[in-house]
């Protein structure tokens, strides 16, 4: 069986909007006037996996989903879904995938049930089969009482569930969800998690983008951490957490440049790594509680004052910070 998803050296550049000023490109060499969204992405996702693409806004997650769902054309590189080349056989790929968009885009001219039956017709289902499946899906997603409602009468959460029902109606082999829980209240988010777990239990391949660490940690079997279009790490959540440097991440906010303080902090026993951005100092250390007083002394010993302190337990978040130098949200 071919992998559910395979990409090799996937690259995508967009023309830069002419009005915006661009910061001169650093290490990345690229022609001026282009924005690099994906920079040689290699992914392999097995059938039946619940796979997460984790990264901040602008990391390239949505572009990746766009290419895999045939809506975005890669600048170079290849991508296969269920063994089918997305560029060569777009319609065939589309017949095998279901897509839940970032923002619900239901057909506003139709009722909830019609949204599903016409979608079924687009995928060659007979009316009988489409009606039967639509009824079952609406039931399962808890919106069967809204079947005859106009779409714009639904709440945001209900519309999102309709999008899931629509994506599942033609029983796709691979389901893509782009930030499915953005804009949902906590209760709706938990309900959606249950739905996604159940879908995965059915044996479907699920590819989800998110910038919520907790969501990725709880749901996904494997995670790819991407930033600025590159794959930084790809493994199970547990293995990724084990890669986080040190046990604890300490952020110190100083009153002025932290450069001199960083050198002093690196000498503190138990400190693994120290990063500096302006007046912010970030230390990865093995025993945070013990290291903290020494760290503060070292920083203030250089004539600085510590304005603020933040401690994080090792998590995907700390790994992400270690890999990218910035936080997700």
């Amino acid at each position: 069986m071919p992998p559910a998803i395979e990409t090799r050296a996937l690259r995508k550049t967009y023309p830069a909007p002419p009005t915006r000023h661009r910061v001169a490109g650093g290490a990345n060499s690229r022609p001026p006037g282009e924005i690099l969204a994906l920079d040689g992405l290699d992914l392999e996702i097995q059938p039946g996996e619940f796979f997460g693409l984790l990264g901040p806004n602008g990391a390239g997650k949505t572009t990746t989903i766009g290419i895999l769902t045939t809506r975005v054309r890669a600048t170079s590189g290849v991508a296969f879904v269920d063994g089918v080349d997305v560029r060569q056989h777009g319609a065939l790929v589309r017949s095998r995938i279901g897509v839940v968009p970032q923002r619900p885009n239901p057909d506003l001219g139709l009722t909830v049930l019609e949204n599903l039956t016409f979608h079924g017709a687009y995928f060659g289902l007979s009316r009988g089969v489409a009606l039967e499946r639509a009824g079952r899906l609406l039931e399962r997603l808890g919106i069967s009482d809204r079947a005859d409602a106009k779409v714009d009468e639904l709440s945001g959460g209900q519309q999102q569930r309709l999008m899931i029902a629509r994506a599942l109606l033609h029983e796709p082999r691979v389901i893509f969800l782009d930030e499915p829980t953005v804009g949902l209240d906590p209760q709706a988010r938990l309900a959606l998690w249950e739905i996604l777990r159940a879908l995965h239990a059915d044996g479907r391949t699920i590819v989800m983008t998110t910038h919520y660490m907790q969501e990725a940690d709880q749901l996904c079997q494997r995670l790819a951490i991407i930033d600025t279009g590159r794959l930084l790490a790809c493994d199970t959540p547990a293995a990724l957490k084990a890669q986080a440097p040190g046990d604890t991440l300490i952020d110190l906010q100083l009153d002025a440049s932290a450069d001199a303080a960083a050198a002093a902090c690196r000498a503190v026993p138990g400190i693994g790594r120290v990063d500096v951005t302006g007046a912010d100092l970030r230390a990865f250390c093995s025993r945070g509680g013990e290291a903290l007083p020494a760290l503060i002394r070292a920083a203030e010993g250089t004539g600085r004052t510590v304005r603020n302190i933040n401690l994080d337990k090792p998590s995907l978040e700390t790994l992400f910070v270690a890999l990218t130098g910035r936080r997700l949200d």
Binding site: Y14, T63, G66, T69, T70, R71, V72, R73, G90, A91, L92, R94, S95, I97, V99, P101, R103, N105, P106, D107, L108, G109, L110, E114, F118, H119, A121, Y122, F123, G124, R166
Partner: protein, 257 residues
């Protein structure tokens, strides 16, 4: 699964929604021609400010305007919204149908809506303006053929405009493109009459509406001076091909990032 099934399913969806909104659609497309015929085809001739015979010139022109506007709007307006705020078109672009057939289906819906508008205006004109001297309904086949060509030309223009124009430019487009097109489209006077301003007679040939108005005159009211319907048909065919080519390119630009 055959692409034709998907195509037909989308067509069924669009016709169902069009049928539901038919009251609104008819008001939108028929208000202007109705008022025109009331003022220029009924009141002014009755006041003897216009000769009775003017009605014969006006009817094919009004039909042309209704058909062209209906075809262009029924493609362009939903497309602007669909690629803009609602993103409704995504579901079709993610259906297992080649992208150019998604565009073609939208054009076919525009053709149907244009023809329906034309077919409604004809009896409406009869009701408002009374019997029209010189109106021949005998050549119904040719009339329908001309209507199909005209609707195809304006429906594909709708595809092009709908993809090339942003939501915030749509008002501007109607002021700068549609209004001059209507007034210099030979709808309210025959093209032959423009020979009194020779340069204008030449300049309006760039306006596709001219060929609809003149084509309809050729088949409906041949007693009024008119362009050879074969030339009108050929011009409409050329407009269709160019607008389809440009429109499809713009559609791909919007549909595939």
């Amino acid at each position: 699964m055959p692409a034709s099934d998907v195509f037909v399913a989308m067509l069924r969806r669009d016709l169902r929604v069009a049928r539901r909104e038919i009251g609104f659609t008819l008001v939108r497309t028929l208000m202007q021609p109705t008022l025109l015929m009331v003022v220029f085809g009924y009141l002014l001739p009755k006041m003897q400010l216009m000769p009775q015979a003017y009605r014969t010139t006006l009817l094919p022109g009004v039909l042309a305007v209704s058909l062209a506007l209906s075809a262009v709007q029924s493609v362009a307006l939903p497309m602007v919204a669909s690629f803009g705020a609602t993103r409704e078109i995504e579901d079709r672009l993610l259906a297992p149908l080649p992208t150019h057939l998604v565009a073609l289906e939208l054009v076919v819906v525009g053709v149907i809506q244009g023809i329906v508008a034309g077919l409604v205006v004809l009896p409406l004109g009869r009701v408002i303006m009374g019997s029209i001297p010189g109106l021949t309904l005998g050549s119904f086949g040719e009339t329908l053929g001309m209507m199909v060509l005209a609707a195809a030309a304006f429906s594909t223009l709708g595809l092009w405009l709908g993809c090339a124009v942003n939501v915030n430019q749509i008002g501007l487009m109607f002021s700068f493109v549609v209004a001059p097109m209507l007034f210099f489209g030979c709808a309210y006077y025959p093209w032959d009459g423009l020979k009194v301003v020779p340069w204008l007679q030449l300049a309006v040939l760039i306006n596709p509406l001219v060929y609809v108005s003149e084509g309809m005159r050729g088949v409906l009211t041949p007693s009024v001076p008119h362009m050879d319907p074969a030339w009108a048909a050929l011009a409409l065919l050329a407009v269709t091909l160019v607008a389809w080519w440009r429109g499809l390119k713009a559609f791909y630009g919007k549909a595939v990032g």
